[in-house]
Each structure stands twice: as C-alpha cells, then as structure tokens.
Symmetry: C2
Subunit: 276 residues, 2 copies
C-alpha cells in the first residue's frame, strides 16, 4: 500500500515519519520546498519525492497543507488520482472544506472523508515534526458520506500511527467544538500577551501565566485562515467568553463577594466533574 | 532556630515539610483543624503542635492563612511574639495586607516583610502539600521597610527551601503584576469552562483546552478574597484582555484578514521575544 502526503510541515512531516516507522505503507512526499522533500527523503520520513504522476500509485492521500491550498491541489491534480483512492485532509476547520472536497470527490470518482489530528506544538515546519506527535491524541473523523470501508481504513491507520482514539463527528459539530477547544485558546493567548504587563512577567509568573500564554507562538498566516473560515462558531464562543469575563468583572467592581464566589464555584464544579 | 508556621494548608504544609527536610529549623505548626496538626506531626512535617505561648520560641513566623485571617492572627497573638521576631505572610495580594502588618510591626516591636511563594497546584489542603512544591519557583519578597538582616534571612531561607530565586518588589508592583500573571488566568479559566460546549469537549480537545481550563479547579473562597482585595489592578487587566479579544473578534467579524494577521503576529512576536 502507498500513501501520498501532500505538504511536509509539522503535521504532514509527523504523519510521514509515523507512516514510515510504524506501518507497512510506502510513503511518497510532496512539498513545494525542495529542501524539505530532500530532508524528508534523507531522514527516511518518505521513500520517494513525489511528482504529480506518482499520485496514481497512492491508495491513500493525506492533504496536509492550508485549507484552501488543499482544495486547490485536488482541483489541479485529480486527473492523476487512482480511481477510488481515499483522500483525506488534516485541516482544522471542516464545514466549507469538506463540502468542497466531497463535491470534487463525487464529480471525479474518488473517496473523501475529513480528518483532524488533534495534536500540535508551538513550532512549525518539517524540522519540528516527529513520529510520536500523535501518541495518545484524538483523531477526529468526518465521514462526509464516504463508504464504511474507507472510514475503517482511516480509523485503523490512525491507531497504527499512534492516535489514542478515533471520534466521528459532522463538519458542523467539529467546527463548533474546535472553536471552543482550540481556536478560542489561541485567540486568547494572543490577546493575553498584549497586556502592557506581559514583558515584565519574569519572576512574577508561574504555571498559570505559562499555560495561558503558551500558544501565543502562533503561525498567524494559518490561524488567520482558520479563524476566518470558522467565523460564526468562533465569534459566538468569543462572545460567550467575553460575557462571562464581564460577569466576573462586574462582581469584582461591585465588591459583590457572593456573586463572585458563585461564578467561581460554578467554574470549579464544571471542571471537577469533567476531570473525574 | 525555630520557625512557626501558621496554617498548614497547601502552602503552609509544603513550607513545613521543606523546612523539616531541608533546613536545621525546628518547626512548630499551627492549624485550627486538630486532624491536620496531628497528621503534620505524625508525618514529620512539624516537630511540635503549637500553642500560643510557643510563639515566643519562634525566630521566624510564616503566616500561611487567608489574608484577613493573617492580620487577625497577628492582632490577637502578638503579645506572645519574641522581640524582633521576623514575621512574614504568604498572601497572594500585598498592598493592603503589607500596610496593616507593617503598621502592627512598628507598633508592637516585631519585624515584618511580605512574601509570596510563586507556586501552587490545583489541589488544596495539607494532604496535597509536598516538600518539593517550591522547587525552582520564584520567591517574591516585599521588603516593607524591614531591616536588611531580616530580608537576607528570608532570602537565604527561601533558597534552602528550594526556590529558584528571590525577586524584591513593592506591594503595588506585586499586585499589578500578579493581577496579570496569576489572577487573570484564574478568572479566565472559570469564564472559559462556562461555555455550553465545555461539557462535550472530550475527543475534541488537546493541550490548548487543557492549559486554559486547568486552574478552573479554584478554591472559590480564597480567590474571591484575593480578587476583591486587588480590585483595581485586576479589573484593569480584565478590561485590557476584553479589549484585545474584542479587537480579534471585530477583525474576524469584518473578514479583515490583514487586521487579524497583524494582531496575531503581534502576539506571536511578544511571546517569542519573551521565550528567548
């Protein structure tokens, strides 16, 4: 079996390494940067630097580029695809992308389902990639009407790659949940470090500063695209958060100890129930 | 030398264990809960359960109770203090507390300086305490006019206890910085988990959810007191954060990719510069 990985950044590079180290797949790697494909080849992350015609060998294609670039790649390269090849993306937003790729799949006779590997780190690029990046992480699978055989293949492969579990979801549920679990913390981290106190934090800070600020090391090109593609769910989550922050702020401003304690208790109880 | 530790919760219990394991001090422990003092004695965290008269043996007194309770303890028990004893607190806010305790020190002939050990965890109480809690953490020292000898004693002791360094600050600077580095992330964690999406996060979440929500396991009694004692700096930080969140929200709402990328880039650059 052969997998083609399109884009050898943090996610694509890590997938390539995990495929090569942990599965029997032959890995063909594509990247617009020849230094990256060369490094991937030399390090054994891929077994072949891909040319478009090589796509015809692939039984599985992983699109690991920015969302719009993934759609563009398929529009241009589908004539090379093997019939019935299983194509998946790794994009952090799903509603629009899955619709476009599903539509292309129906038109051109390949199979598409969406994937979102729930792992990452604060560095980007092939140089930061590692075979163990996905160990124990959740693999979100968006069926998009793909046949059960293709979904089973993606699920089994994910477990071989090191993921801790596969969760099936719809594009809409995915985007609503990701707005909360991932996009909002990234927006928050950037907003947080803009405080005038931030540059003087050293000596005054510990774990809670470190945790909130961690993902401020953001790739602003990628995340601008992800945020704008998920406008409604993300602005709804931001409104929700701002509303609760304003509630806490009002209780403090009014010196209303009972109201403040009630909000904090509510937060604690939710978190404790989820951690059990 | 003898140290009296007043309050054997997470911080006082951890200090007691660190003093007993890592210094030559005899440790006398005070707690209103006799089960706690008994457990502390049995475990070797303290060498003696304190009675008020025992305070006269102490060369150093650590107040590890809630801020107002610390002031109250000194008001009631100072007649037992040895002349020139060095008293310090461990409270998370300083302006009001340091003023009250400094004034009591001047009136009654003991020495006071404020301390804030920058460490903690999501559990509270003696049962969660550990000698290594402060390993590598910052020790904030608020001189409050105490003589250099007392400040040197507190600093050297902090390093013996495992702290990574001592930073001297004023009550006002302390409270302004802590509003940003510690109080805001705690308020934020509670506001964050109040989202209706939160209870369904499993499978959809990874490190960024975990990091932002971690300190939602808050002791709401203690933190309500800390927030209300630091009203102005904390509401100012909350306003700053809300303003930046609204800036990001507006860029998303207006589909303004350039503005959004500029804000995210600014956050990334601040964070990268600080992490170097």
């Amino acid at each position: 079996m052969t997998v083609a990985i399109v884009g050898l950044g943090l996610i694509g590079g890590s997938l390539a390494k995990a495929f090569s180290e942990r599965t029997a797949y032959q890995v063909i790697g594509f990247d617009r940067n020849p230094e990256v494909t060369q490094a991937a080849l030399t390090s054994g992350a891929i077994q072949k630097v891909g040319e478009p015609a090589d796509l015809s060998q692939a039984d599985l294609i992983y699109l690991c580029v920015y969302p719009h670039a993934a759609v563009q790649f398929v529009k241009e390269q589908h004539p090379f695809f093997k019939k019935e090849v299983v194509v998946t993306d790794t994009s952090g937003i799903k509603t629009e992308i899955c619709e476009e790729l599903s539509s292309l799949a129906r038109t051109h006779g390949f199979v598409f389902a969406g994937s979102h590997p729930m792992a990452g780190k604060e560095q980007s690029g092939f140089w930061a990639s590692e075979a163990g990046l996905f160990d124990g992480a959740s693999y979100l699978l968006v069926p998009c009407g793909a046949p059960e055989g293709a979904l089973a293949l993606l699920s089994e492969t994910a477990l071989q790659l090191g993921f801790g579990g596969v969760k099936r979801t719809t594009p809409e549920e995915h985007d609503r949940m990701i707005a909360f679990t991932s996009q909002l913390p990234h927006a928050l981290a950037c907003a947080y470090v803009l405080s005038p106190q931030c540059p003087r934090h050293k000596g005054f800070s510990a774990g809670s500063y470190r945790d909130v600020s961690r993902v401020a090391r953001i790739n602003e090109e990628l995340w601008s695209e992800l945020f704008l593609e998920n406008r409604e769910p993300l602005t709804a989550e931001m409104d929700e958060l701002i509303r609760h922050l304003e509630g806490i702020r009002a209780a403090i401003q009014n010196n209303d100890r009972d109201a403040l304690r009630d909000i904090l208790r509510c937060g604690r109880q939710i978190k404790e129930a989820l951690d059990e």
